[in-house]
């Protein structure tokens, strides 16, 4: 039963913490651009406003897609260990690949629902998002396999425990951590990699047809996704830590990603692929080679 409480805590933290962080990110970006920016709670207002509106529904698959997206994101967020074995809701199921693929349920649901809206912009956006996935996942998964190969486990709470004795992966395999961080930016869809949502060219891509509560629900889903993505990075490369430290590290990673993204323009889709399959993928393999040879710190 405790697992359920922990899972609920996961979700609650994911909701309040991440949505606040999103607001903070807007504030940070604004400050970098010498603006005042919205208040940190702006995103809560946006979400609840969206939920309060009278939306349009483009057919049952549109509804179903949104529900599937949110459902998948909730399921994934509920599994993520928050920095330590104690805050691991399901120690038997916190397998890395399970999380990555369960995470894909949400993405698939979103992609399906959005294309189901009948808008070609959504289809273009989804096609871009999937291509981008092909880009960032590859180096990320290679780095992750070397991590799992090194510690002989793919269970995240065990990886955290191993890091407690061995040192953070950021130190043990700095190249891998850097590559994973670059992938993380792509995963978050932040600035150089916000190709899928490019509002100026493809009318915010997948979201083109989202109105009212659909928008709100997807924003919540997005918050859970961020929780999963950044949380995984913190767990796997920054050694997790107690709940407080976990959140602090979370903030650090998030702010860093925001800072980077706020000063960069957008890639084109091929540029993105060439970028990810160039240096980061090469470094990922290099990292794997180092791990194989035992050249880790």
């Amino acid at each position: 039963m405790t697992a359920v409480y922990k899972a609920i805590l996961n979700l609650v933290i994911a909701f309040f913490f991440v949505i606040s962080l999103e607001g903070i990110a807007r504030k940070i970006t604004a400050r970098i651009q010498r603006r005042i920016g919205p208040p940190w709670y702006q995103n809560f207002i946006d979400i609840f406003k969206a939920l309060s509106k009278h939306p349009f529904s483009n057919g049952w698959i549109f509804d179903f897609g949104v529900l599937m997206a949110l459902g998948g994101a909730i399921a994934t967020a509920a599994i993520i260990p928050m920095g330590s074995t104690f805050w691991t809701p399901f120690p038997n199921t916190d397998n890395f690949f399970v999380i990555m693929y369960l995470f894909a349920v949400g993405s698939l649901g979103m992609a399906m629902g959005m294309v189901g809206s009948g808008s070609p912009w959504s289809a273009i956006g989804v096609s871009r998002a999937l291509t981008q996935m092909l880009g960032y996942e590859l180096p990320y998964l290679v780095v992750m396999s070397s991590v799992m190969y090194m510690y002989k486990t793919s269970s995240i709470h065990l990886l955290i425990e191993k890091q407690a004795t061995n040192g953070w992966n950021l130190y043990v395999m700095p190249i891998g951590a850097i590559v994973a961080f670059i992938s993380l930016i792509g995963m978050l869809g932040k600035k150089p990699f916000d190709i899928a949502v490019a509002p100026a060219e493809i009318a915010s891509g997948p979201m083109a047809e989202l109105s009212g509560k659909y928008m709100g629900l997807l924003q919540i889903m997005h918050a859970f996704s961020i929780f999963v993505e950044v949380g995984l990075f913190v767990d796997l490369f920054l050694g997790g830590g107690s709940l407080g430290w976990f959140l602090v590290k979370f903030i650090v990673v998030w702010v860093l990603a925001t800072l980077i993204s706020s000063v960069l323009p957008r890639f084109r889709i091929e540029q993105m692929l060439k970028f990810y399959w160039g240096v980061p993928l090469g470094l990922a393999f290099l990292n794997a080679l180092f791990v194989l040879l035992g050249w880790t710190f």
Partner: protein, 178 residues
């Protein structure tokens, strides 16, 4: 005016703090929006953000004159927005046709065709005026007075009549004749 429930009041206050804007940039007024968004005036601090599609947007900004051809599209877009939705008429063109008042193809008063919640006078209005208009609209929303979308529903027949009168019926429906 009907008494609002508590939920509606909360919702209205939320709506007033998060105005997503679709700017319909047909005329010269679009020029004034970049400074309003960027560092000098920064409208995001009021929670106003540009959006790409009518489905996501709360307010529609008509930034300049509308001729009969674009008006059809504005109405079409307006009807695609989710309730509650607000319209800001931007510049004198939307009020009385501005310097194009005697053109054969330009409409003079926007609120004959769609309900306008706030007009911004001037040719051109400065960003300060735009921000002022946003704040005024927020105030109206909070009070529950920005009810253009309800009026449009209630007086749909009237609006439709005006629209048809100015635009005329379209007899051939395909991509080349509209």
């Amino acid at each position: 005016m009907k008494e609002r429930t508590m939920w509606e009041q909360i919702a209205d206050s939320l709506r007033s703090r998060s105005l997503w804007m679709l700017h319909y940039c047909t005329g010269c007024g679009a020029m004034e929006l970049p400074p309003t968004m960027t560092a000098r005036f920064d409208m995001e601090r009021f929670g106003v953000a540009p959006m790409a599609t009518p489905r996501q947007a709360d307010i529609m900004l008509i930034t300049g004159y509308l001729n009969t051809k674009t008006l059809r599209r504005v109405i079409y877009t307006y009807e695609q927005m989710a309730d509650p939705k607000y319209v800001i008429g931007f510049g004198s063109c939307t009020i009385n046709g501005g310097i194009y008042f005697d053109s054969y193809s330009t409409i003079n008063r926007l609120d004959y065709y769609i309900p306008v919640d706030v007009y911004i006078a001037g040719c051109m209005p400065r960003p300060e005026a735009i921000l002022e208009a946003f704040n005024y609209l927020m105030e109206k929303i909070r009070k529950g007075e920005a009810d253009g979308w309800k009026r449009y529903k209630e007086n749909y027949e009237w609006y439709k009549q005006n629209q048809i009168r100015s635009l005329g019926e379209v007899y051939v429906h395909d991509e080349f004749h509209e």
